[in-house]
């Protein structure tokens, strides 16, 4: 039975990862390109220069192609919470459903309504209203990011709720705590600024390709300057919000931070691993070295985590098995408390069913005492509380290294643009073009850190993925996984080919 459920969970996770990763190929470009198109069109309306209009419409065409597949891959994510994570939907739907509904009301209708004006309104509405519509699409897209990231932020740091034992679910107690949770704020600022960065890389990279091909040079340089300014500001912001997000992870998801750095044994003046090769045989609690080879910068992790280079940062072993010296209660001990909470919840439910009020009251009192570690009661081994370390570590480091590279590219573009020699910088233009792909890698890596690093939890500390999933035979989910893989891959190939063709046609057709 246990094996059967695990298989279903594995497929459900694989399907969610697949659909979310596909979706996130398109979303960041939508979020950022919508603003860039709005900038371009604003310049057109302000100057009345038809070349800016042509430029706007070119990027808008690419935006539309990308937007459609973003919508297509998005609908499944909302409904998948119900289809594949049915227990999750019930246990936290009282809190989690609200941001999704708000996203629909406030964001999706803005996008859907004004998208039609943006593409079909050039001769049906005034120039000013058209520009307004383009801005509304940008605002709507980014508003949708707010609410889905509030929802995701709550999964990382559940707040503003309480467990209702009668209903066997968590219920919202404070909407503002959910909506304005610091994790939600960091998620939103980091994800959207990184999306602006990616879209800027896209515009800069495609424009650089035009320069390399000696086509549409004027339009390409104009696009590059606007996008490089936007991209540089975004990348500085990405760095700043990334630091805030990491600080937040250190405070609220210390196990994730330890996995991000492959830190097994907590220490003061904890270093950041600048470069390292993880020892794949290493297991929590053993004596093997964590790395085959590594280059560390002392104190930097302590500084990042606690704003103090001398401070103590707990490691995986401390968090899994506890560290009395540092007053850290490990997963091992929490499991004991959690199992009491689960047992008392079962006693309470049974006593209520049989009408034994005294027994129910006693069980409820014990449950209330132990409910803080409820989620740990579902674990069988403290090492289950440890996320996959190599995946989390490498994803985090890839993201950071790439994130450091991008602002330099934007700066160089701006430098040569102001020198007036941009079209002659072949190596830079090549680097710009290839940076588009690196931008996508960084985006995906960022989400892998956030989601794989949260494992084994669907809701941090409260609900492991194994309990959250739907009670359904694995073969069903396996089949839909294969269907999604085939369909999304076909659609992605179509999208890429259409995009390449439109880039080949260029703005002048």
């Amino acid at each position: 039975m246990g094996e059967h459920i695990l298989t279903t969970v594995d497929w459900a996770r694989a399907q969610f990862a697949l659909t979310a990763m596909y979706h996130w190929i398109f979303v960041p470009l939508t979020l950022g390109l919508s603003f860039l198109v709005a900038f371009f069109e604003s310049i057109y309306v302000k100057t009345g220069n038809e070349e800016w209009k042509k430029l706007t419409r070119f990027w808008m065409t690419l935006f539309g192609i990308n937007f459609a597949i973003g919508v297509a891959t998005g609908i499944i994510l909302e409904f998948q919470f119900g289809t594949n994570w049915s227990n999750y939907s019930w246990m936290v739907g009282d809190i989690f459903g609200a941001p999704l509904a708000i996203e629909g009301i406030f964001a999706f209708f803005l996008e859907a309504t004004f998208f039609a004006v943006m593409f079909f309104g050039w001769h049906r509405v005034s120039k000013g209203f058209h520009l307004f519509s383009t801005w509304m699409v940008a605002v709507g897209s980014n508003l949708s990011a707010v609410w889905i990231l509030v929802a995701n932020g709550w999964m990382q740091f559940p707040t503003g709720m309480a467990f209702n034992p009668d209903k066997a679910r968590f219920e919202m107690q404070n909407f503002w705590e959910v909506a304005l949770s610091p994790v939600a704020v960091h998620k939103f600022t980091h994800a959207t600024s990184s999306a602006f960065l990616l879209a800027s890389l896209f515009v800069v990279g495609i424009s650089a390709l035009f320069l390399l091909q000696e086509r549409h040079q004027k339009m390409a340089k104009r696009s590059m300057v606007v996008a490089a300014v936007f991209g540089f500001i975004a990348s500085v912001f990405v760095g700043f919000t990334g630091d805030e997000a990491a600080f937040s992870v250190a405070q609220r998801q210390p196990m994730k931070l330890a996995a991000m750095e492959g830190l097994y044994v907590g220490q003061e003046k904890a270093p950041i691993v600048a470069m390292g090769i993880i020892n794949s045989s290493k297991k929590p609690g053993d004596d093997l070295p964590a790395f085959y080879a590594e280059k560390k910068i002392p104190g930097l992790l302590s500084l990042l985590a606690n704003r103090d280079p001398n401070s103590f940062v707990p490691g995986i072993n401390d968090l899994a098995f506890g560290n009395a010296e540092r007053n850290i209660i490990g997963a091992e001990q929490r499991m004991v408390t959690g199992k009491i909470a689960l047992a008392e919840l079962a006693h309470y439910k049974y006593a209520k069913e049989t009408g034994d009020a005294a027994q129910a009251a006693a069980a409820l009192a014990l449950f209330e005492q132990h409910k803080g570690d409820l989620g740990y009661g579902y674990l069988n081994n403290p090492t289950e509380a440890v996320p996959p370390v190599p995946t989390t570590f490498y994803s985090f480091h890839i993201m950071v290294v790439l994130g450091t590279l991008f602002p330099l590219i934007f700066l160089l573009v701006l430098y040569f643009a102001f020198k007036g020699t941009l079209e002659y910088q072949r190596w830079l233009n090549l680097a710009c073009f290839f940076s588009i792909f690196l931008g996508y890698v960084a985006q995906q890596a960022g989400w892998v850190v956030a989601e794989v690093g949260r494992q084994p939890w669907a809701i941090q500390g409260l609900l492991p993925v194994g309990v959250a999933s739907t009670n359904i035979a694995a073969s069903n989910v396996q089949t839909t996984f294969c269907m999604f893989l085939a369909l999304f891959t076909a659609l992605l190939l179509a999208e890429i080919r259409i995009m390449i063709k439109q880039i080949k046609i260029g703005p002048e057709a």
Binding site: T61, G64, I65, F67, I69, V71, A72, I75, I76, E78, F81, G82, T83, N84, W85, S86, N87, S89, W90, G93, G97, A98, L100, A101, I102, G104, I105, F106, F108, F109, E111, A112, T113, F114, F115, A116, V117, F120, G121, H123, R169, E171, M172, Q173, F175, K349, T470, N471, I472, A473, N476, M483, L487, A490, L491, A494, R497, I498, K501, I505
Partner: protein
């Protein structure tokens, strides 16, 4: 103010809000109906493009309304979301697949190098408008015919057939419901073409399609209506919450809620007038009567399922696991918060209506499809 409302009132209010969104979705399925008309109504490539571009300016509204319907159900009735989506897995998955393939089809159909070819995207649209709606209808039909599931003490669902929802499409009532939606959508789609397209040969065919499709819908509509007034239904004892079978439940609901009866009759009358006005009287405004009528009928159907002490998502295998708007809802706090949020809905409706009016002020012509904006056309 909302915070002072009784919990039961909030639960009823949210069933109403979800019903309004669901009913608006039913009206907006004229897009899906239009998608199925491309193979039956259009004789030329130009006519096909006119239909697709007409629907293409509204498809996202329909799609978004469906997404909001899902979101509203998740926020307000999470136990329904968990039970139905997790249990009737396949029916929902297939519905979603048809919407996924729809979403790319408009944008990609005419674009060069689109890999799958224009015809494939047209077939995608047609599948969405036929199979997609048929399955949605079958799923809504289970609000009356029930499903086979049970919930444990922790409200975790176990579906008791290996078909996970597909069995719904084999029930004659559910099937009639699905087919009615398909033909109603085609009727509405034809009415919208008449309203929005300036191309006489196509408009002439669309006028004819309006009443022909209504004629096709009629036997399924009659099946649904006769079944509804004769079938037993899943009643709930308001004091104990116990579910029991009641003879003539939905007829009792209709007679016990005269407003719902008027919504149903008024709605059907409005749809029929819309069809007659478009098909026989040469009017272009039939879509509005058809649309408003569809919304009213939708509200009546959802009200019959959810109000008057009725289980809206019944279980035939374990009746006590059936869902009512009271046992499936969110907490009072969440419903209150969401009610404040819902105050924004009229604002959303207002700007949607304003932009609709702006974009539809001029009819779609062949000249527009081949003019300066040709690159943006679907």
């Amino acid at each position: 103010m909302i915070g002072n409302l009784d919990y039961a009132i909030l639960q009823q209010l949210w069933w109403l809000i979800a019903s309004v969104v669901g009913s608006l979705f039913l009206f907006l399925t004229f897009v899906q109906g239009g998608q199925t008309l491309i193979f039956t109504l259009a004789n030329t490539e130009e006519e096909k493009s006119l239909i697709i571009n007409t629907m293409g300016r509204k498809w996202e509204l329909t799609f978004t309304t469906l997404v909001l319907f899902g979101g509203a159900l998740f926020a307000a009735f999470p136990l329904f979301y968990a039970t139905s989506f997790g249990g009737a897995y396949w029916v929902w998955m297939l519905i979603l697949f048809t919407f996924i393939i729809q979403a790319v089809s408009y944008e990609y159909r005419k674009k060069p190098d689109n890999v799958l070819g224009a015809r494939t995207y047209e077939i995608f649209m047609s599948i969405n408008g036929s199979i997609g709606l048929l399955l949605i209808g079958a799923a809504v039909g289970t609000f009356f015919t029930g499903s086979r599931f049970s919930l444990n003490l922790y409200n975790s669902v176990t579906w008791q057939t290996p078909y996970h929802g597909l069995e719904a499409a084999l029930n004659p009532f559910n099937l009639a419901f699905g087919l009615f939606l398909v033909f109603l959508a085609r009727t509405l789609g034809a009415m919208y073409i008449v309203n929005h397209v300036d191309h006489e040969p196509l408009v002439k065919k669309a006028r004819k399609a309006t009443w022909i499709n209504m004629l096709w819908a009629l036997p399924f509509l009659l099946t649904i209506l006769i079944s509804l007034v004769t079938m037993d239904g899943f009643a709930v004892n308001p004091t104990t919450g116990e579910i029991f079978m009641e003879k003539g439940k939905y007829l009792n609901n209709l007679l016990g809620m005269p407003v719902v009866l008027s919504l149903l009759l008024g709605g059907l009358g409005s749809v029929i007038y819309g069809v007659a006005a478009t098909g026989f009287l040469g009017k272009n405004s039939g879509i509005w009567f058809g649309g408003i009528g569809t919304v009213l009928v939708g509200l009546a159907i959802f009200s019959l399922a959810g109000y008057h002490n009725t289980a809206f998502y019944p279980s035939v295998s374990d009746p006590q696991s059936s869902l009512t708007i009271y046992n499936a809802s969110s907490s009072k706090y969440t419903l209150t918060v969401m009610s404040y949020v819902a105050l924004a809905v009229p604002v959303v409706l207002a700007y949607v209506a304003y932009v609709w009016k702006l974009l539809d002020a001029k009819k779609l012509t062949l000249a527009e499809l081949t003019g300066e904006d040709v690159k943006e056309m679907y």
